[in-house]
């Protein structure tokens, strides 16, 4: 112990005048067969998922010998990344769950303080890697709110087009991996196959299949490619047909229904208490969609429905994702017929860098180019919290600006991080075989959890 403290003093990475106190650096989980060092009533309740609604039961005839603690992950394909779960089993029944996260933590919020607002989307787009456009959008919306600017209509419509297509591709992955976890391997092949169509369109438009850095403060990076209508029409034609195939394969399939129905139930009350948003909340019977309630980027002018289910089980959460794909495609179809001509970036010299051609002609353009690419643009003081409806729920961005060209504090409220807290609720008191189905139905993306 003393030796460890000496090591700490030797490390020479502290900034001057740091206010850090002495630190106890003893390890807490080395070789431990306990879920926690100290367990009290409240932690046990949280791990049993019974702190909101107490539906916990113990069958008396299972002896203590049958209790064991099992470690799932972090390297396990059905935990969707590097999620680690400590699970207490009683026979084959999961009794307690303790999620352990942080294996993918790369300090993106700290990095966000080092990058200026112009570079910011390159960082946030890597958080939730299945829905990168939403991360860029929420960061851009926050910056624009601080700047007090409105993007041109064409830019707003391109944003809606890209994010809604992104919702389709993200839900397709959720369906694919969800199917794979339960053993429906054809579903995995199908889901990834259809996603490829959308990723091809993304690649054509942005140059990259993921981590696009396409939506930026002030508009979007580039205009849509020539003949983009044809690509989108292809997507609109092919995906609904394929979705019918999925339904034919799975919807009335007794094995599929048997595996998913009445498994991993989340009630509305539990969803609200745990801050669960998005498809999981709507599958539990609460029609809450930020696109309807707190619309962003002009999405209120398009017509679409919000599917809601009452059951709150894994089947409802699977079904709602399929139906949301149809609704997103409805929006995409409307955007296709409503794309005004005009600028795709805001025409403000302080925010939008000039086109390459202008640099040879105008000294002023060269100065603006140099300013934006070195220092970035300055953003007025203030703090802002903006939200969008990402495929997993409420995605929020909290930015504090001190008037410089870099955010003083940039925090992203990832929906996966919050939804993960409901894991004990959906997993407890069900067989271990249902656990993976329950995890898949919440659709956590660990890049978003750990940031």
């Amino acid at each position: 112990m003393e030796e460890n403290n000496d090591t700490v003093k030797d490390l020479d990475f502290w900034a001057t005048n740091s206010e850090e106190g002495g630190w106890n650096i003893s390890s807490t989980d080395e070789g431990s067969q306990k879920m926690l060092e100290q367990e009290d009533e409240m932690t046990t309740k949280i791990q049993m998922g019974s702190d909101v609604i107490d539906d916990y039961f113990i069958e008396d005839d299972i002896s203590d010998d049958e209790r064991m603690i099992l470690n799932m992950g972090p390297q396990h394909p059905s935990t969707h990344g590097v999620l680690r779960l400590q699970v207490e089993l009683e026979g084959e029944v999961v009794r307690r769950v303790q999620p352990v996260i942080g294996y993918l933590h790369t300090g993106m919020e700290k990095t966000g303080e080092e990058l200026n607002y112009f570079q910011g989307p390159t960082n946030t787009t890597r958080m939730d890697y299945l829905s990168p456009f939403f991360n860029e959008l929420v960061f851009s919306l926050a910056t624009e709110k601080l700047l007090g600017i409105e993007v041109p209509e064409r830019a707003a419509n391109i944003r809606i087009l890209m994010t809604e297509l992104n919702r389709v591709s993200s839900h397709l992955v959720a369906l694919a991996t969800g199917g794979m976890d339960i053993g429906a391997l054809s579903m995995m092949i199908f889901g990834f196959r259809e996603r490829e169509l959308i990723l091809d369109f993304f690649e054509k438009t942005t140059g990259l299949r993921m981590n696009h850095n396409f939506i930026r403060p002030g508009g979007v990076a580039a205009d849509l490619p020539d003949n983009w209508q044809k690509d989108v029409e292809d997507i609109l034609k092919i995906i609904p047909e394929k979705l019918k195939d999925y339904d034919e394969m799975l919807l009335d399939n007794p094995i599929w229904q048997g595996r998913l129905k009445n498994v991993g139930i989340l009630t509305t009350e539990e969803c609200l208490a745990y801050g669960v948003t998005g498809p999981s909340l709507r599958a539990s019977g609460y029609a809450w969609d930020l696109r309807k309630m707190q619309p962003y980027s002009g999405i209120e002018k398009y017509e679409f429905d919000v599917p809601v289910f009452e059951e709150g089980d894994v089947f409802a959460r699977w079904r709602i994702k399929v139906l949301e794909i149809f609704e997103s495609l409805k929006i995409v179809e409307q955007v296709l017929g409503d794309m005004p001509k005009g600028a795709y970036k805001i025409q403000d010299k302080k925010i939008t860098p000039p086109p390459r051609k202008r640099l040879d002609e105008s000294m002023e353009a060269l100065i603006h180019h140099f300013k934006i690419y070195t220092e970035g643009f300055k953003v007025p003081e203030g703090q802002v919290y903006t939200t969008v409806e990402s495929p997993r729920g409420e995605l929020g961005c909290f930015i504090v600006s001190d008037g410089s060209s870099k955010p003083y504090r940039m925090h992203v409220r990832g929906p996966s991080f919050c939804n993960l807290q409901a894991l004990p609720v959906v997993m407890s008191d069900s067989p271990i075989a249902d656990a993976v189905a329950a995890i898949a139905s919440l659709d956590p993306v660990l890049g978003d959890v750990d940031r």
């Binding site: 900034a15 702190d51 609460y286 909290f398 991080f417 919050c418 807290q421």
Partner: protein, 135 residues
């Protein structure tokens, strides 16, 4: 659209209780801001609440006392659990009566709180748990 309310740490728990009774069903976000050498007191806690029934948001900001201790709201909003652990991990804020206040994103034997402004970024030797000592 978002109401910003500034309150003192002593009133914090009571205010959150009131918000819960007023129909703010969800605590959606809890984070902190480090105003190192810019403002006094140094740390500010920012908590966002959402009422899905009234379609309203409220943002509480609390200037923390020097002992960096504030009551935990996990008993009112279970969703605060991970967020308070994150704030403890990243800023070193102590939440009283939190059921399990341990590090969440960083390794449990990590030294320091990375999101503080006096914690330098870059060129920090990566610490491995139980790594053999190299001279």
């Amino acid at each position: 659209m978002i109401d910003n309310i500034e309150i003192l740490p002593e009133e914090y728990f009571k205010k959150v209780e009131e918000l819960k009774q007023d129909g703010f069903e969800m605590m959606v976000d809890l984070t902190a801001v480090d105003w190192f050498r810019k403002k006094d007191p140094r740390f500010e806690l920012v908590v966002n609440f959402l009422s899905v029934s009234k379609n309203k948001r409220v943002c509480l900001s609390v200037k923390l006392n020097d002992d960096l201790t504030i009551p935990s709201i996990v008993s009112l909003y279970p969703s605060a659990n991970f967020y308070e652990r994150e704030a403890f991990d990243m800023f070193g804020i102590n939440f009283e009566n939190h059921p399990d206040l341990t590090r969440i994103l960083m390794p449990d034997d990590w030294v320091g709180h990375p999101l503080r402004k006096d914690y330098g970024s870059g060129r920090i030797p990566v610490q491995f748990k139980n790594a053999p000592k190299v001279d």
